[in-house]
């Protein structure tokens, strides 16, 4: 096992373990904190893949903005400080069995899929290539602009909903 593999397993355990605690945590605020830890793990995986730009954006947007918004939303819910009891109900065993069976179904597909393999490393000017591909009409200019229009529409919609009725 190489060092890269060890680090990958470490980050994978961090991501999945924190994700598990996110759904198993009794407390809503703790669940959000575990979610943030899980997102940190994903950022670590991006760094491992030499996609530093994605890692930076992941931390800036998901941890710096989205999770903070989730915390705000969580804090505005009622019964935040109360202990809502165990997060599992009496159907957890049945759910685990069905999920396990589903995994058995999926496992051969995952094992048999011809995953593409990258032989050469990431080029040094990857960020420049990313930037150029986002404004190149032959590549991703249209999806990029469509995403911008969608975000603009969401912004206007949010302002319309939040505006006081005159």
């Amino acid at each position: 096992m190489t060092l890269i593999q060890a680090v990958f397993i470490l980050f994978a355990i961090l991501t999945l373990g924190a994700g598990l605690f996110t759904v198993l945590s009794r407390h809503l605020f703790h669940a959000v904190l575990y979610l943030i830890l899980s997102l940190v793990g994903v950022a670590g995986l991006f760094v491992l893949l030499e996609a530093e730009f994605l890692a930076g954006v992941q931390v800036l947007i998901y941890i710096g903005a989205i999770s903070i918004l989730i915390i705000f939303a969580v804090m505005l819910t009622r019964g935040m400080a109360r202990n809502p009891g165990p997060p599992l109900n009496n159907q957890s065993l049945a759910a685990a069995v069905i999920a396990g069976l589903f995994f058995v179904l999926l496992a051969p597909v995952i094992a048999g899929f011809p995953w593409p393999q990258v032989t050469q490393g990431v080029p040094a000017d990857a960020i420049e290539a990313l930037g150029r591909s986002l404004v190149d009409p032959n590549q991703f200019a249209l999806p990029f602009e469509l995403a911008s229009v969608m975000i603009l529409a969401a912004l206007i919609g949010a302002i319309f909903i939040a505006r006081e009725k005159r």
Binding site: F29, L33, L60
Partner: protein
């Protein structure tokens, strides 16, 4: 003589080369040398932050005292320079309290996260050619992203303390930090666009003319939002003593309080270091060695923070939000578009060097004067209208104007 000057000028690269040679002469493999040098760099940079924190607490108190015609700390050692040591010993001997009903893990982890996230951006600050923690190709983005991690720490501190003032302070802090992140990021984007790179070293190398004289508007907005992100006066409403006692760190005592405080001061240090790198030309300057130039340029930003604190009163929360969302953010979006067009136009017209810088400077100054004049004119008209109507109610227009 020339040799001595050369040695002092290139002190940091020579030290690095000597260390590398020493490790190689011990016959260590290349990976181990990389690891050891990385650890030494991390140790030095962390201590730069911590010692900087100790010095800054003393310097701030002295400078504020000077502004207010007092003496400041003057008992511990000559001119009171041992005051940070005395403060440290005092904080170490304080009782380490934890409020009843506090969330144990969240409460204790929060200061660590705040301090770590404040220290981490120091890695990408260049102190000279070849003297940088590591030259990431996303340097500026990294500094901004890691700085945003402190938000989580602030919320954890506010929530984990089980105290209403702490929670209110945390909400205020996060609202302010998340809002002012936007103009700060936009002004950094302007710099990145003009420099053509996100690496801090690359940005310094691109500044034949310091960007303060090429992009003065972006520099001003970065400084304003930097002050807001650090939470210093006039944006210190997140720890307004008369309203919410002390903000999110009210329940912390002893060394945990010191860690929160350290996070704030190092954040100020990092913001002024980024200001030096992005707008003042980093280590570049005549005669003096590069690391001295870096420190001098960092002190300029720090001194501005102290100066503002001693001069300006605190603003209200609605003014804080109005200034950001109705003035700085639209202004920076327009500036981003304008700079992109003018930059392309000047380069297409064949302007390089001084001519290009002069054109950019003229455009930015015109935009700055326009941006200040139009709200000024509108505000003046609103005030005149309010005075003419002379109704007892305070018109909303006045408040909106107050933000500008």
């Amino acid at each position: 003589m020339a040799q001595i000057y050369d040695f002092i000028y290139n002190l940091l690269p020579y030290l690095g080369a000597w260390l590398r040679g020493l490790l190689q002469s011990w016959g260590l493999p290349e990976d181990a040398i990389f690891l050891i040098i990385g650890l030494i760099k991390a140790f030095l940079l962390a201590n730069f932050g911590l010692i900087g924190f100790a010095i800054l607490t003393y310097v701030e108190r002295k400078i504020i005292a000077r502004f207010q015609d007092r003496l400041g700390p003057n008992m511990a050692g000559p001119y009171g320079i041992l005051q940070p040591v005395a403060d440290g010993i005092k904080l170490l001997t304080k009782e380490d309290t934890m409020p009843a009903g506090a969330d144990r893990w969240v409460y204790n982890l929060a200061p660590l996260i705040i301090a770590t996230c404040a220290l981490a951006p120091l890695i990408v600050i260049p102190f000279g050619p070849g003297a940088v923690g590591t030259d990431l190709n996303i340097g500026v983005l990294y500094a901004l992203a890691v700085g945003a991690g402190a938000l989580v720490g602030v919320l954890m501190a506010g929530w984990g303390s089980n105290n209403k003032y702490a929670l209110l302070g945390a909400f205020r802090a996060v609202a302010q930090l998340i809002s002012y992140e936007i103009p700060a990021v936009l002004s950094v984007v302007v710099v990145v666009m003009v420099a053509g790179t996100m690496s801090t070293v690359g940005i310094v190398l691109a500044q034949d003319v310091p960007y303060l004289f090429v992009l003065p508007l972006a520099a001003l907005v970065f400084l304003i939002s930097g002050v807001a992100e650090v939470g210093r006066t006039p944006f210190d409403l997140l720890e307004a003593e008369s309203e919410i006692v002390a903000g999110f760190h009210i329940e912390y005592s002893g060394m945990k309080f010191a860690l929160v405080f350290l996070g704030e001061f190092i954040h100020a240090l990092v913001v002024s270091a980024l200001f030096a790198v992005l707008f003042l030309g980093g280590w570049r300057g005549p005669w003096l060695p590069p690391y001295l130039w870096t420190l001098i340029k960092m002190s300029i930003g720090i001194f501005m923070f102290f100066w503002l604190r001693a001069t300006l009163p605190r603003i209200r929360i609605d003014q804080m939000l109005n200034l950001n969302w109705k003035f700085l953010t639209p202004l920076m979006i327009l500036n981003l578009i304008g700079v992109a067009l003018v930059d392309k136009g000047l380069r297409a017209a064949g302007a390089t060097g001084g001519l290009w810088a002069a054109g950019m400077f003229a455009f930015n100054m015109a935009m700055l004067i326009g941006a200040l004049a139009i709200p000024g004119y509108l505000g003046h008209r609103a005030r005149m209208a309010a005075m003419a109507s002379a109704s007892g109610e305070e018109p909303e227009a006045l408040e909106a104007v107050g933000a500008h």
